[in-house]
Symmetry: C2
Subunit: 185 residues, 2 copies
C-alpha cells in the first residue's frame, strides 16, 4: 500500500503538446488548473482511490508487513492504488493477491475514508479466505494471520488501517457489521 | 455532472520536462504507463470519483435537468467530479450547491458504483434539505422536486443515477436504508 506517491506532482508541461503550463482558473471553473500556454489543454487533477480489504480466515485477520516506504516494517491491510479499467472490488482483490499472494472472497464494502490533505479516498472491503494460503508478495516483508487480540496496534502503518481495524473489532464484538465512513485529518 | 470528460486523455508529453513519453511497463510494475523518454518520470493514471447525493425535502427528491453535454436535457442527481483537497462528503455537498443552489445536509453514504470502462467510481449520499430552497445552477436548465411516483424514469441521464433512484425507491418503500454497491457495464 504505497499511499504517499502519485499525489503531489506539480504539472509543469502540457501532456498534449509539451509546452509550458500556466496556473489559472479557466472560464466557468472555480479552481486553479494547469492550463497549457500554447494549446489551452486543461489538466484536471482529482483524488485517487486506495482499495483494500480486511480478509478473515477463521477468526484471524490477514496483515502485511511493509517492505517499502513509507512506513517500511509496519503492518498494514493489503491495499493499494485502484487502477484504470477495474472495479473497486477487482482492485481490492488484486492488491491482496499482489501483496499477500492470497485469494480473497469479498463480502461487502466496510469502510470509506477521505484523507483530503493527501487527495486520497480509501475504500476497504470485508472478505474471507477459503484456505490459509498466503505468502509475502514483492511489497511485503511478511504476511500473517492475527487474532483480534494479537493485532499489533503500535506497529500499524496508517491511520486508515487503524480506523478499519478498530471498527472491525467493534462490529465483530457485537456480531453486526455495518458500513463506516469518516475523514481523517 | 460531467462524467465523460477528463477520462480519455492520452498522455503524449512529460508533465515534468516536456519531452515525449513512451508507453512501457516500468520495472516492478505490471501495467503500461506513460514514461518520459528523457527524465524517466512515470505518469500514473487512476480512476476518478464522481460524488453526488439523493437529497430529499419532505417526500420529494431533488433532480437537475442538464444544461451541458453529455445527456443535455436529461435529468440527473446533483453530482460531479470530486476535487483535490476535499472529502467525498464535501464534494457531494459542493456539487449540490453548484448545480442546484441547494444546501444539503448529508445523512449517510448510499451507493457506490464502479464503471470500469470509463475509469470512474460514483459515490452517492442520502441527504435532506431543511427548506425547499433551490435554483438552477450554471450546469442545469431546471431543478425540481419529484415524488417517487413522479421520477422521470425515461429521461434519466445516467445508469448510475437510475441505479441510485431504484435502490432508493426500494429502500424507502420498506422503510429501511442500506448501503448499495454495484458495477455497471
Amino acid at each position: 500500500m504505497s499511499i504517499q506517491i502519485r499525489n503531489f506532482i506539480v504539472i509543469l508541461f502540457c501532456n498534449q503538446c509539451g509546452a509550458s503550463v500556466d496556473s489559472l482558473i479557466p472560464p466557468g471553473d472555480a479552481l486553479l488548473r494547469a492550463v497549457c500556454s500554447k494549446c489551452g489543454h486543461i489538466h484536471y487533477e482529482n483524488p485517487r482511490m486506495i482499495v483494500g480489504c480486511i480478509a478473515e480466515f477463521e477468526d484471524k485477520i490477514l496483515l502485511c508487513r511493509r517492505a517499502i516506504e513509507p512506513q517500511y516494517g509496519f503492518w498494514t491491510l493489503p491495499a493499494g492504488f485502484m487502477e484504470n479499467g477495474e472495479t473497486t472490488a477487482q482492485g481490492a482483490a488484486r492488491e491482496a493477491l499482489e501483496e499477500a499472494c492470497a485469494n480473497i472472497h469479498l463480502d461487502a464494502p466496510f469502510a470509506l475514508i477521505s484523507i483530503a490533505h493527501i487527495n486520497q479516498v480509501h475504500l476497504f472491503y470485508r472478505g474471507h479466505m477459503k484456505e490459509a494460503k498466503f505468502a509475502a508478495g514483492e511489497e511485503s516483508l511478511a504476511v500473517d494471520l492475527f487474532k483480534i487480540e494479537e493485532i499489533p496496534w503500535d506497529e500499524l502503518a496508517f491511520t486508515s488501517v487503524r480506523f478499519c481495524l478498530e471498527k472491525f473489532t467493534e462490529d465483530k464484538t457485537r456480531h453486526c457489521f455495518s458500513f463506516h465512513e469518516t475523514s481523517l485529518p
